[in-house]
């Protein structure tokens, strides 16, 4: 039977429910290997630039780049949940906050070394995320979006609560000392934190990639595309969805802990729902379902507000909003979608040649 790849079936499109998450799937077949080569080259160039950056830039820029990477890690976590598993979250700022508070409290109250706080923050966030994922199982689409949004709104208030004040210092927040580079490395603290973040970011990215390409990742994507069918194939959808929440929260929590160490200060006001909203914006701009998009999303939410402020102080919010909307017109499926289109075009040209 000859195969015609071109006919599309309308039923799926027609019945697609409002809550479904459209994700970017990168082009596969024919030219896949050449595309992969392009991507790999781009990745290596980016990595070299990333390694060289701190020796070229001033400390302020290094700090900004570090924050960009941190947001990137958080967005990567969100991408696992939303892009890969198809669950919305407008509340990932909450996990970021939990990670940050875990690190800060450990350092402030117990004098734990900052490096140790990262895995602990990750584990705590995993547990919190997993537990939140349980009730979230019952919710879909907008309902889940709102439940997570509620989480984002409530979390800063919880950190203010008087019974926890002994630990959290309430509204006054916690000040953290900036760590020096270890082993006598000839790096200043900003450079050291940058490289630390870069290393963790790379590890996080590699793990995410492995995960997506594995049995687990396929199960997560199957749930995203068709939960009932996934269940019928033996995927324990409840467990996997909760685990996806947990892993996603773990990523974001580690990012939060890093953020606390780099900013050297946390307070409930650091983690309002605007943070969650920013993470979603970064996710969409980078490309839902496309893992490297996290980096670009991080760059967007880190630098674009500053550009907006340069353009107009009084109306910086309006400018930022306008840029966001224009981005969505230009690349409605994010940078990942744009890249997909570009690569498809490219591979087609090479095919015809």
């Amino acid at each position: 039977m000859s195969v015609n790849t071109t006919t599309t079936d309308g039923s799926q499109a027609a019945t697609g429910s409002a809550g479904s998450v459209k994700a970017v799937s990168l082009p596969k077949p024919a030219a896949a290997s050449s595309n992969a080569k392009i991507m790999r080259t781009a990745g290596i160039v980016l990595l070299i630039m990333g390694l060289a950056a701190p020796f070229m830039a001033g400390n302020f820029l290094i700090f900004q780049l570090t924050m960009m990477l941190i947001y990137g890690i958080a967005i990567l976590g969100l991408n696992i949940l939303t892009g890969i598993n198809g669950q919305f979250s407008l509340g990932h700022g909450a996990f970021y906050a939990v990670g940050a508070y875990t690190a800060a409290i450990m350092m402030d109250q117990f004098g734990v070394g900052y490096l140790w706080t990262l895995p602990v923050a990750g584990i705590i966030c995993f547990i919190v995320g997993f537990l939140f994922g349980l009730p979230a199982l019952r919710l879909e689409g907008v309902y889940l979006a709102l439940a997570t949004f509620a989480l984002a709104v409530v979390t800063p208030q919880l950190f203010k609560l008087s019974p926890f004040e002994h630990w959290t210092s309430g509204v006054m927040g916690i000040v953290i000392s900036k760590p020096e580079a270890p082993f006598g490395l000839p790096l200043n603290p900003d450079q050291w934190l940058y490289f630390l973040t870069l290393a963790i970011g790379l590890l996080a990215y590699v793990c995410a990639r492995n995960l997506v390409a594995s049995r687990t990742g396929r199960a997560l994507m199957a749930i995203r595309d068709n939960p009932i069918a996934a269940g019928s194939m033996g995927v324990n959808t409840a467990l996997f969805k909760s685990l996806a929440f947990g892993v996603s929260a773990l990523y974001t929590g580690v990012a939060g802990a890093l953020g606390a160490i780099v900013v050297q200060y946390i307070s409930p006001d650091s983690f309002t729902f605007t943070l969650s909203v920013a993470l979603v914006v970064g996710l969409v701009v980078g490309g839902v379902g496309w893992l490297p998009g996290a980096l670009f999303g991080g760059a967007f939410i880190m630098f674009v507000p500053n550009i907006a402020e340069e353009l107009s102080k009084g109306l910086s919010g309006a400018v930022y909003g306008a840029i966001m909307i224009l981005m969505m017109y230009a690349i409605p499926t994010g940078l990942g979608g744009l890249l997909k289109a570009a690569l498809t075009a490219l591979s087609k040209r090479s095919k015809t040649r």
Partner: protein, 409 residues
Amino acid sequence: MHMRRNILKYVGAGLVVSSSLAFASISQAADMPGVTDTEIKIGNIAPYSGPASAYSTIAKTISAYFDKVNEEGGINGRKVNFLSYDDGYSPPKAVEQARKLVESDEALLIFQSLGTPSNSAIEKYMNMKKVPQLLVATGATKFGDPENFPWTMGWQPNYQSEGIIYGRWIAAEMPDAKIAVMYQNDDFGKDLLNGLKTGLGDKADMVIAEASYEVAEPVVDSQVVKLKASGADVFISFSTPKFAAQGIKKAHEIGWDATQIVANVSNSVGAVLTPAGLEASEGLISTAYLKDMQDPQWADDQGVKDWNAFMDKYYADGDKLSSFTTYGYSVAQTMVHILEQAGDDLTRENVLKQAASMKDVTLPLFLPGMSMNTSDTDYFPIEQMQLMKFNGERWENFGEIISGEVGGN
């Protein structure tokens, strides 16, 4: 705790003394970041966006005031280049902006950065970098701690002293009162509440009911109803303008016949009492250190006239009803005073030194008899306030000018 603080104090004081000696010699080297022969770069961080954007009026007023200063020739011939950045009331963003101002723009100092969280976030960095963080826009008591943070200084009367003033006054005037307090659940509300209890001293149990609210809440009706039910006859509202207005209005509606006190930040006739209803506001008690522009008693005051002229010319679309404009106007004048005092020696060290050696400095919009004083150990420029009562039309000051005495010792 007390022991430790004392020790720190001595150590800190020693450091300040020795370092200020050191500054004296360095300052001759004319190492003056942010300063050229024609310009002084002053940094500022304010929430132009986000939930606290109402406060951006202050920075806008300051900017307008520096326009005026520049137009009139600048400070000792140097124009002020006022770099004001948005942090959206987010501490991480404040850190970023502070680093930008210090490392990238190389501003001489950061002035009037707004909000307790944002200032807390940058305090350590500023002191490490030895860049003045002057006249910060918050009344949190922590920003007057020269032992530990010699580069950070506040301006307005701190919230705790204000609370103490109310406490003392109630303890003296209404010893049998039953007090109900509504407060904003943040450092501002809590500092005021703590101050109140300190001021009440051993009569702290006069406070029979407390109810907090979150800035995120749309209305505080429930809190007011709950507090009235406690049977209190004094209703204190440590709230920001919107909630203070709601509180006054609601208390009036439910016929709560209590003596009402509102915090200084919320005593603007135009921005609080008018929305709440002037009738409902009658009998209100508060404190002040600045003149209220809407108050008819100052109609002929020169300072007020100057302010009006300034607003008309330099900040025409500014809201004259807002007390933030008088605040910004006055704090900018303070900054100009400090820079003028520093003369041509505009090193960070000298500017800080000038800020920490104000002697009886008074401002046009201060209530009569008030002045600013600072020293190496006193980082609270304004510590005086006067109680006042609203007569349904305007505020009437009463009693002495009172000094709060939290800071400085």
